[in-house]
């Protein structure tokens, strides 16, 4: 067990290192520096700017400096576009909004998904089950940007119930719904199939034979065991929410980390691109690790390797 945990942590660290390295060299390989977009900049001024941000040094030296700054001080350097602000500050500002968005969406998806999944499993092949399955199939095959756009059209353009702008608390409702629909649908299907699996087990039959009531069987015996596969979905769900938030924040103009990532790509703001990628990637890698380890802790039957 300990050896397994150790191996997984090493793999996670290697992945994060790979992300940093790949990101660094990719963003340095791009022609056209970050200052090209601005009008009328003399060569002397550009050289001065490059010297100021250390862009004139050899790439390997920049890489080593960058890596050691991250490891020792968690410092991603200053943003090249938003003058006078550090990347860390921009990211943490954006994260405050994005985390609120993401966590609410994840929790909502989890609760509703488990409820709907259990209902579908218990009413198997009845009308309710069929409706739930059709709706979740539709949600699963709809890209997040389309879901977001459609919700925007319906609820804010046509009905006018909710604002289209995600800067206010009320405006976050639509982005949260958009982000949570796909994971919710997925969790619903996951819960349904694992619940059906569990309900066919012998110990459920035993409980039933003892005369345990239907609801107690579900909450006391079936639910706990059928939630195990859902735990493995935590990591992928977070990855979905992170990438989904890029488009969702664009659609609803939410001032989160996703929007600043997209705009930093078009601005070619190297430190910002790298910083955001690294933070988000680390988040995903760590969540994947946690969900895999949790899976093992919750269900000791699972064989490592």
């Amino acid at each position: 067990m300990l050896w397994y945990i150790f191996k997984r942590i090493v793999l996670a660290l290697a992945t994060i290192w790979l992300v940093i390295t790949v990101t660094f060299f990719i963003s340095r390989a791009v022609p056209g520096g970050p200052f090209l977009g601005e009008k009328a900049i003399t060569e002397a001024a550009q050289a001065q700017l490059e010297a100021k941000y250390g862009l004139d040094k050899p790439v390997m030296e920049q890489y080593v400096t960058y890596l050691s700054d991250i490891v020792t001080e968690f410092d991603f350097g200053p943003s090249l576009k938003q003058r006078g602000r550090d990347v860390v500050d921009i990211i943490s500002d954006g994260l405050k909004v994005s985390v609120k968005l993401g966590v609410t969406a994840a929790v909502g998806a989890l609760i509703l998904g488990v409820i709907f999944g259990s209902i579908a499993a218990l009413r198997r092949n009845k009308l309710v089950d069929k409706i739930i399955m059709v709706v979740t199939t539709a949600f699963v095959s709809m890209p997040s940007f389309i879901m977001g756009s459609l919700l925007l059209v319906v609820f804010s353009s046509i009905l006018g119930w909710l604002p289209a702008n995600g800067t206010t608390a009320e405006g976050l409702i639509l982005p949260i719904i958009t982000l949570s629909l796909y994971p919710m649908a997925y969790i619903t299907r996951l819960t349904r199939s694992s619940m059906l699996d569990v309900l066919g087990q012998d110990y459920i039959r035993t409980a039933r034979a003892k005369g345990v009531s239907g609801w107690r069987i579900i909450f006391g015996h079936a639910l706990k065991n059928s939630l195990i596969p859902v735990i493995t979905y935590f990591g992928p769900m977070l990855a979905y929410i992170v990438t989904g938030s890029l488009v969702v924040e664009r659609i609803f103009a939410v001032p989160g980390i996703g929007r600043s990532f997209v705009s930093s790509i078009t601005d070619r703001d190297y430190p910002m691109i790298m910083g955001t990628t690294i933070v988000l990637a680390t988040l995903i890698v760590v969540m994947n690790l946690v969900s895999d380890l949790l899976y093992k802790v919750v269900d000791p039957r699972i064989n490592l390797e």
């Binding site: 963003s27 940007f145 389309i146 990628t277 995903i284």
Partner: protein, 360 residues
């Protein structure tokens, strides 16, 4: 059936068959023995199972219809995806062609109609630059499908090569390849895709391909293919390696080897046929995934090059005029969802039909 001979006072049954006791079978009895149906192959069995699955069959026809439409319709359609109808050489731009509602006509077309001529209708109207929106949707569907299909083929080729090398060689080669696969696998794919796509689309790629046949496809789509080639082969490689590893140890392979079969024979007769269904199924399921990714990147502005539409970029463009022209968003949205949904359901049907072992 057996005759008994008297030997002394005991009747001993003899093993000698007395043919006189047999009578020829009647025609009716003969007909009873005839095999009722020809022997079935694995492929035929699979197709039969697939056809029984109504959802998958319907989805298959939807895909075929959409594909054929997107390939052949632009050949007959009187408008093209990049032609701005308001612009005629030597005349000022006619703005009456921009943002037409469905089945409306521009000013010169209305004159033609008034003169009694027939004008082909703009079924979905035109976009902000006066381009026929229906043909843009059809063309966008073609691009999305093509990207999905070719990306999956690229993934298949790379994944199959690497996976079979790892599986067949084993040992150190396998170990090294699998560690690399592990690392790429645990990379957050979408972030890396965005990063690669954003970098490749501005790097020297467009100059490098200028003048070649690739220039017509556009640098962005090629960078998209590169992204798929770099990142998405890993799960395919894992799958095929696992298949080969388990198949190599099967008894029938051992039996074939014991009877003196050569390596090439084993690969051709045992490994490939047993692998192929899994490979086809996961390729089929990779297509909607690639379409998904392409539309996602197009939506972020990292997909196809400008005048060329893809379903994602059409949806992205429509976002700006969304309150006035919601249908321009809804149409590509519906088409994309329909394609992805039918491909997914068809892929599931394929899996159920052709790979009973994989059933979950």
């Amino acid at each position: 059936m057996f005759t008994t001979k008297k030997l002394g006072k005991y009747a001993i049954p003899s093993m000698h068959v007395d043919l006189d006791q047999f009578i020829p079978a009647t025609e009716e009895e003969k007909a009873y023995m005839v095999q009722m149906r020809p022997s079935s192959t694995f492929f035929k069995d699979g197709v039969k199972r697939l056809l029984k699955n109504k959802v998958a069959t319907v989805c298959f026809f939807i895909i075929v219809i959409i594909t054929l439409t997107s390939i052949f319709l632009p050949m007959f359609w009187p408008y093209s995806y990049e032609q701005m109808l308001g612009i005629t050489p030597g005349r000022p731009v006619d703005p009456s062609y921009n943002n037409l509602a469905p089945f409306e006509y521009g000013s010169t077309e209305q004159e033609l109609i008034a003169a009694g001529e027939k004008v082909f209708p703009h079924i979905f109207g035109t976009d902000a630059a006066g381009r026929d929106y229906f043909i843009r949707i059809v063309y966008g569907t073609r691009i999305s499908l093509a990207v999905g299909f070719f990306a999956s083929i690229i993934v298949l080729i790379i994944g199959m090569t690497v996976g079979s090398i790892a599986g067949y060689c084993g040992g150190k080669v396998d170990l090294i390849i699998m560690r690399i696969v592990d690392m790429i696998y645990s990379l957050p794919d979408m972030l890396m895709v965005i990063l690669l796509a954003s970098v490749l689309s501005v790097s020297g790629l467009s100059q490098a391909i200028e003048g070649t046949a690739l220039a017509k496809i556009g640098a962005n789509i090629i960078s998209l293919f590169i992204v798929f080639a770099v990142l998405y082969w890993v799960s395919m490689a894992r799958l095929i390696r696992g298949q080969i590893l388990s198949l190599r140890e099967q008894e029938y392979v051992l039996a074939a080897r014991a009877t003196g079969a050569k390596g090439s024979w084993i690969i051709r007769k045992h490994l490939v046929p047993n692998c192929i269904s899994v490979v086809i199924i996961s390729t089929a399921l990779q297509i909607p995934n690639s379409i998904f990714t392409e539309s996602y990147l197009s939506f972020l502005g990292l997909g196809v090059n400008a005048p060329m539409p893809s379903l994602g970029s059409l949806a992205s463009d429509a976002l700006n005029g969304m309150s006035s022209y919601p249908y321009r968003l809804i149409i590509p949205a519906v088409v994309i969802s329909l394609i992805v949904l039918s491909l997914n359901l068809f892929g599931d049907g394929l899996r159920d039909a052709f790979d009973p072992k994989l059933n979950n």
